[in-house]
Amino acid sequence: MGEAARLLEVVATGPMASVQDLGRPGRGDLGVGRSGAADRGSLRLANRLLANPEGAAALEVTLGGLAVRAHGDLLIALSGAPCRATVVDASGRARDIGHHAVERLPDGATLRLGVPRCGLRTYVAVRGGLDVPVVLGSRATDFMAGLGPELPRPGTLLPVGPPPGRFPGVDLAPVAEPRDDVPLLAVLPGPRDDWFTSGALRALCAEPYEVTADSNRVGIRLRGPVLERVRDGELPPEGMVPGALQVPPSGQPTLFLADHPVTGGYPVIAVVRTRDVDRAAQVRPGQRVRFRLSPH
């Protein structure tokens, strides 16, 4: 039998879906941000289940609603925000599939994702990875910079790469659902905590902040206690990182995510620890988060 092209056909995208991998490190000096999966741990996990390289490209699905049809027999794994996932095969038989598990998506079958029970971003990885063109070393779509593949639309055909030489070693990875309604995120003070009053860090960690609807892959706009500055004016531009809590003159912080600007001109009072940036990327608008100072 000849090797027919293996593809994932997008039938519906839900509110937003994009192709993501682990992004473009090492080009910040050219004004190119890292981008990549907002919840990097979840992308890695789905790829490991399929014996893909950890950074293989997959779909990042925001608030469910995705439907994709297999062209050729595929193996898939879901991770991130848990949602109902149904596979309807070519003959119309439907079955629900689990998260963090290696599942078959046979030729002609359609996968549909419901709205997540909790969390925001669900990852759909395919054994072999999504083989869209590489731009500057990555297949990720960077919303801020406008780099990488265009957003998938109904009808988009996403090529699937050749399966890796290794085979999946486990069928299932036990992962606890992120059930905490108000996630507690660990922060390290700085780099510009000295631009704020001595009470500002305490205020940051005292009361919860609400995640506003004005949030996306660039960052999460938060609403809560005002963080007061002791210094006015703008900083000369300086490098930013994911997890940075940048504070504009309003005193309401923005938590930067994967597609954050490479440089910024407002002071960063504190930075969320790397492992908690993934958890921040799963917080939904309207939900609240709390911060705590992390010892080094």
Binding site: P25, G26, R27, G28, D29, L30, G31, V32, R34, V135, L136, A145, G146, L147, L188, G190, P191, R192, P236, P237, E238, G239, M240, V241, G243, A244, P261, V262, T263, V268, V271, V272, R273, T274
Partner: protein
């Protein structure tokens, strides 16, 4: 060089320095031989952001910075770039008023002295040029433009820049160039890289 270290989360340190020249010198040195685990070196106006991944940690990265010895002689890797410009920008007359120069003198000032790429930001390939003629220091426009065309040559806050792609922008436009400064298919994709010396030359409108 007397760097001040400001920790920036668990996987980066912001090294604060005396100014653009010190930042570029440290960037050059570290870029030539990056410490283990360092993933990104991001020069900016007065800082160099050093991002790293485990097993690298602050202590190791900070001592690598303190032990960095600048290479002798000027750097050549970033190169010299000549940018041909038609000086017919929409803000040229405003820049003349703001600087107290005639439009002709603005052009002569912009082409008369070399510039250096201090850092990138705002958009891929958008280089902040420093040096040049200090008389060209003008503030940003009070209202940003929704669309600035690719190749627009602009001034703001003591910097000059060439817009790499069409984008919104609040800088004052003095001219345009056909020289592509950004090409995703090229390696490296940016023509104007930190440390590069840049000379603007006037060409007739074509």
């Amino acid at each position: 060089m007397n760097p001040r270290f400001r920790r920036c989360g668990d996987q980066a340190v912001l090294v604060e320095l005396g100014g653009a020249a010190e930042v570029l010198a440290l960037y050059d040195t570290l870029a030539a031989d990056p410490p283990r685990g360092v993933t990104d070196l991001l020069p900016a106006a007065r800082t160099l952001l050093v991002r790293f991944e485990p097993p690298a940690h602050w202590g190791a990265v900070e001592s690598a910075v303190l032990n960095a010895r600048p290479a002798a002689g000027p750097r050549v890797a970033a190169g010299e770039v000549t940018v041909p410009v038609v000086y017919d920008g929409d803000d040229l007359a405003d820049v003349a008023v703001l600087t107290g120069l005639s439009e002709r003198e603005v052009v002569e000032a912009h082409t008369g002295m070399p510039w250096t790429v201090a850092f990138s930001g705002f958009a891929p390939g958008f280089a902040y040029l420093v040096g040049g003629n200090p008389r060209l220091r003008v503030p940003r426009r009070t209202e940003s433009r929704v669309r600035v065309p690719a190749g627009a040559v602009a001034l703001a806050a003591g910097f000059s820049a060439v817009y790499p792609r069409e984008s919104p922008g609040g800088w004052r436009l003095i001219g345009r160039t056909d020289l592509p400064v950004w090409d995703v298919a090229a390696d490296p994709p940016a023509l104007l890289r930190p440390g590069a010396r840049v000379r603007f030359v006037e060409v007739r409108r074509g």
